[in-house]
């Protein structure tokens, strides 16, 4: 195989310098980036590209070998060999990065002071890792640092390099053991910022000691406010809030000078080339004061707190640790929680932040909240959110109206959280009940209406006085657009309740006690109350607004959910729309509404038939039956619809008390000719447009609009279905017994 050939070739005596066997194998493995397909490599063996790689490989091995054995004080200017090898290392490093074995050799030579600073600098600048950096090479470099053979500039460059490549170091155990060494370098004023940064990367809870804090505070006293010291001290505070505290000013953005140096670009290039998931350095996350747009009172709660560790608990931990120093149940600071995998790894020792309100802007903690069902979590959130909503409400509190935008954002955040958790907050419910009677229906409109859709379902309903009454007052006195928005949010409210019901039906088998001890009959009553309320306001609104299609669309959209509750949500409840909704839809001027009504009536039929079948089979004792009144109402509507659209007998056969029934005498007085057929699928005002187009296609020569030509309804129906009237299709196919259909 190829690997074998390489090994042989490097052993040939013509090779000027020998390399360790171990390195060699590793190097070839590195060069190919892992497994080698033997066949492919044989085929490609002679390709020029491969040969080029081979030669590069050789020259890097030679260079490393040279630097390993290089003697003191070799001058760069006079020594061509040194120049050659240095260039080789630089070129390969920048193009492909260096293999793990290279670091030991190059760091040793660069920090030992054997060569001139220009060479050392160039060597350090080319230390770009291809994969990982062995910890041992870093540890031995630190020992070079301690004997200070190298110049200050080289030391600084090394530290900057170490910070940049920190995440590429394969292990960090021994490095952690050197914490004290690094800490002692803080004394050097030039190194101090970089040492702070390095310590920031290395610090764990056990690194924070009172004597170190005192040392840092001495430095702070000597040097004043320094961002790098602030950052390190903030981290100390995070781990040991009982030992030190610091409140950072809000403006600060960067805490460490740009230490990425010359390597960052090269690392990115190599990473892209290797296309591996190399570690990505994490951004700093410090507990800075949040940016405030304006000066506000200190106890304003509208600013959602940042997630910060519960200090209160940490201290208790410390007390426990006095007893058990090696206790493993240390909690994971929430400030460090940044990825979903971190959440999974630390979920057993994660603590909620000191202020629960901060979960609102932290999706990871919301996931966690979903897993932990603890009463105190909800209670903390309840108090915070309740107080915030009341205190910041722009229409309940005087002088707050200038902050409407902020309040909107807050309500938006709360709503998004509810969507995420698929659960309404009781503090929001209380807030809505308190503030709706004072609401003008304009301020934060869409946010408030969205929050309405998440009002939790509770067994004992105070909805009428708290929600329906104030909402109805606004509804009747506001614009068409507002009416549609209210209907939309009530539809979502209904769907959220129904979803809640379905989920709890599933979990009921686990015999968990409901958090809301809702009985099925209680639930049915609350849902029925909502549907009746919507039926009532819809009827009045259609009257007030003179039956606009736009409004009718939102009303029928609501009933699309209602008509399917039995089959889709397993709720033993079906409520027919009131006549004030049904007839305006049936006689609508618009085919969209009529089509929607047809679909809804079809779904009612499907649900009622299924209920009847269940009832008849009596396999299980049914707790709930639909009342005969529901069937009766459905039948009345069906008679009216079939009479209108199909049999042209609506005025004779409609038996609904609020229906279309009229005496022939009265109808004759209207002097309308052919009144009987005036609402069938040809003459219905919503359908006439289709009828005209159909006539033009079927009888292009006829210009008299003679609708009586449409005699064979089969063709006409096919035409209507093709126009997208799917609701009409399912309705006619299910509810009309067509003799001709068989032929």
């Amino acid at each position: 195989s190829k690997k074998m050939q390489r090994r042989q070739s490097s052993k040939t005596p013509t090779q000027p310098l020998q390399v360790h066997h171990k390195n060699q194998t590793d190097l070839s493995a590195w060069r190919k980036g892992g497994r080698i397909d033997p066949e492919k490599s044989v085929q490609n063996h002679q390709s020029p590209n491969d040969q080029k790689n081979d030669s590069k490989q050789d020259s890097l091995e030679q260079a490393l070998s040279y630097f390993e054995k290089v003697q003191d004080r070799v001058s760069l200017k006079k020594n061509n060999i040194l120049q050659k090898h240095l260039t080789t290392v630089e070129t390969i490093a920048l193009q492909r990065g260096l293999p793990p074995e290279g670091f030991d050799v190059l760091l040793n030579v660069a920090l030992s002071g054997k060569l001139a600073d220009t060479v050392n600098t160039r060597l350090l600048k080319s230390l770009v890792p291809a994969s990982v950096i062995p910890e041992t090479s870093v540890v031995s470099s630190v020992s070079w640092l301690c004997v200070s053979k190298c110049s200050d500039n080289v030391q600084l460059l090394f530290l900057r390099w170490l910070i940049t490549v920190f995440d590429f170091i394969d292990r960090k155990e021994q490095l952690h053991a050197l914490y004290g060494f690094f800490f002692s370098f803080l004394q050097d004023e030039k190194m101090c910022p970089y040492v702070c940064h390095l310590l920031y990367l290395l610090t764990r809870k056990q690194s924070v000691k009172p004597f170190r804090i005192r040392r840092l505070l001495d430095l702070q006293a000597k040097m004043g406010m320094q961002p790098h010291l602030q950052a390190l001290l903030s981290l100390y505070k995070l781990f040991c809030p009982e030992l030190v505290t610091i409140n950072l000013p809000g403006k600060m953005k960067t805490y460490f000078k740009n230490s990425e140096g010359p390597w960052k670009a090269a690392i990115n290039t190599v990473r892209q080339r290797n296309q591996e998931n190399s570690p990505v350095s994490k951004p700093l996350l410090l507990g800075t004061a949040q940016p405030q747009s304006r000066k506000r009172k200190w106890n304003t709660q509208l600013i959602i707190p940042a997630s910060s560790t519960n200090k209160n608990n940490l201290e208790e931990d410390r007390e426990k640790n006095h007893v058990d120093l090696y206790s493993m149940n240390e909690s994971f600071p929430v400030e460090q929680l940044q990825t979903f995998s971190q959440l999974l790894q630390n979920i057993h020792h994660l603590e909620f932040p000191s202020q629960m309100g901060s979960v609102l802007t932290n999706p990871l903690l919301l996931h966690y909240m979903n897993c932990i069902k603890d009463e105190s979590i909800y209670l903390r959130l309840y108090y915070w959110m309740g107080q915030t909503l009341q205190e910041e409400c722009t229409w309940c509190v005087a002088d707050n109206n200038q902050y409407e935008e902020e309040f909107k954002d807050f309500l938006e955040t709360v709503y998004k959280t509810e969507c995420f958790l698929q659960e309404g907050f009781s503090s929001c419910e209380v807030f809505l009940y308190k503030s709706l009677p004072l609401w003008d229906g304009f301020c934060c409109r869409s946010q408030i209406l969205r929050l309405v859709s998440w009002i939790p379902l509770s067994s004992f309903s105070e909805m009428k006085s708290h929600l329906y009454d104030p909402l109805a007052q606004l509804f009747f006195t506001s614009s068409l657009y507002f009416k549609c928005s209210v209907l939309e949010s009530l539809k979502e409210l209904l769907q959220n309740w129904l979803n809640w019901h379905v989920i709890h039906l599933d979990s009921e088998s686990d015999s968990e006690v409901h958090s809301l001890n809702t009985t099925l009959s209680g639930l049915v009553n609350v849902v029925a109350e909502l549907i009746h309320f919507v039926g009532w306001i819809s009827t009045v609104a259609l009257h007030l607004e003179n039956n606009p299609t736009f409004l009718l669309y939102f009303i029928l959209d609501f009933y699309e959910t209602v008509c399917d509750m039995y089959l889709r949500y397993n709720l033993p409840l079906l409520i027919m729309p009131p006549a004030g909704v049904f007839y305006p839809a049936l006689l609508s001027m618009d085919s969209v509404s009529l089509n929607q009504l047809c679909y809804i009536m079809y779904r009612y039929r499907t649900n009622l038939v299924a209920a009847k079948e269940n009832e008849l089979s009596k396999k299980k004792i049914l707790q709930f039956k639909f009342s005969s009144q529901t069937y009766q109402e459905y039948n009345q509507y069906i008679i009216a619809m079939v009479g209108c659209l199909w049999t042209s007998s609506a005025f004779q056969k409609d038996v609904h008390p609020q229906g279309l029934h009229m005496d022939d005498e009265l109808l004759k007085k209207t002097t309308v000719q052919e009144f009987k057929t005036s609402f069938n699928i040809v003459y219905h005002p919503a359908m006439m447009g289709y009828a005209v187009l159909f006539l033009q296609q079927a009888w292009p020569d006829d210009t008299t609009f003679n609708f009586s030509l449409i005699k064979k309804w089969n063709w006409y129906l096919e035409y209507l279905y093709a126009q997208g009237l799917k609701g009409l299709k399912v309705f006619i196919e299910s509810s009309i017994n067509r003799v001709s259909q068989a032929s």
Binding site: L217, N299, L379, Y383, Q387
Partner: protein, 285 residues
């Protein structure tokens, strides 16, 4: 013991409601004092770290006031005091009290009965001193115990209750006049009307209104105030019912609608606190 709460009298206290404190422990008041004093130092010199436990310019004392209780279920009140040490002569020099605040709960069973163990109910907070300190101390409590502070205003309705209740209380002979302050709304310049009544006259009026001693109804309070209003109208032709009651001062205490109170009689301290606790609870529930 009236001696131990005497220092609460004759000072203006600004009222706040506070939601239950999460994981507050009476056994750790010393720790809280250390942490709070470092927090204050860090807050005053933002950006500089402060070691916890060292002597700082501002000394914090957190202590318990077990006397201020209504029922057995009430938590002991908590007193927070800030005093400054002069940096010139650190040891032995007099410490000067610069700010104090206290949390209390007097007969707050409505709240404390319904809250799990992890929570401590001290719904009423009273502060005296610069608002900048109230802000720092309040922020620390909010951050540490996940609670919310809100200013507690007193509505004119509650002020009239206080006027009636305090009129009926017995005090020594040298009692000062009862004073009601009304503010006239919707004027370009603010106009306040002060209405002072001799305490014995007020008491005589209240005695004719109150039907059952020890019990007060809303109706009685309304009648009492209406009598005062009609008396005023007879003399000055001004309808006080059209104005807003903003302040009530009696020998027992004085209360301002902005949520400021001054206690004057130690024997009625808990009585007044009970009413204020009730108001605080209704604001947080």
């Amino acid at each position: 013991d009236p001696q131990r709460t005497a220092f609460l009298l004759r000072k203006q206290w600004t009222l706040y409601s506070v939601t239950p404190l999460y994981r507050f422990s009476n056994a750790r008041l010393r720790d809280y004092a250390r942490l709070l004093s470092a927090f204050i130092a860090a807050e005053k010199q933002k950006g500089l770290a402060v070691e916890i436990g060292v002597e700082l310019d501002i000394k914090v004392a957190v202590s318990s006031l077990p006397d201020l209780k209504g029922s057995d279920q009430d938590q002991a009140a908590i007193l927070v005091q800030l005093s400054s040490r002069s940096p010139a002569s650190p040891k032995n020099s007099e410490e000067k009290l610069i700010w104090s605040g206290w949390f209390c709960c007097v007969s707050g069973d409505d709240l404390s009965e319904n809250v799990p163990e992890d929570f401590t109910c001290l719904p009423l907070f009273l502060a005296n001193g610069a608002e900048s300190y109230t802000s720092i101390v309040g922020s620390w409590f909010q951050k540490t115990f996940d609670c919310c502070f809100r200013r507690l205003a007193i509505s004119p309705l509650h002020l009239s209750w206080m006027a009636a209740m305090w009129t009926g209380c017995k005090v020594d002979k040298t009692a000062c006049a009862m004073e009601l302050v009304f503010s006239v709304p919707h004027l370009p310049q603010p106009l306040d009307i002060s209405y002072a009544i001799h305490p014995e006259d007020a008491k005589a009026l209240w005695d004719t209104v109150q039907k059952t001693p020890g019990e007060i109804t809303q109706e009685e309070v309304d009648v009492f105030m209406d009598c005062l209003y009609s008396h005023f109208h007879r003399h000055f032709k001004i309808h006080l019912s059209a104005t807003k009651l903003v302040k009530v001062s009696t020998a027992i205490a004085s209360a301002h609608c902005d949520g400021i109170i001054k206690f004057l009689q130690s024997q009625y301290l808990t009585g007044v606190l009970m009413l204020l606790t009730e108001l605080a609870i209704s604001q947080i529930q």
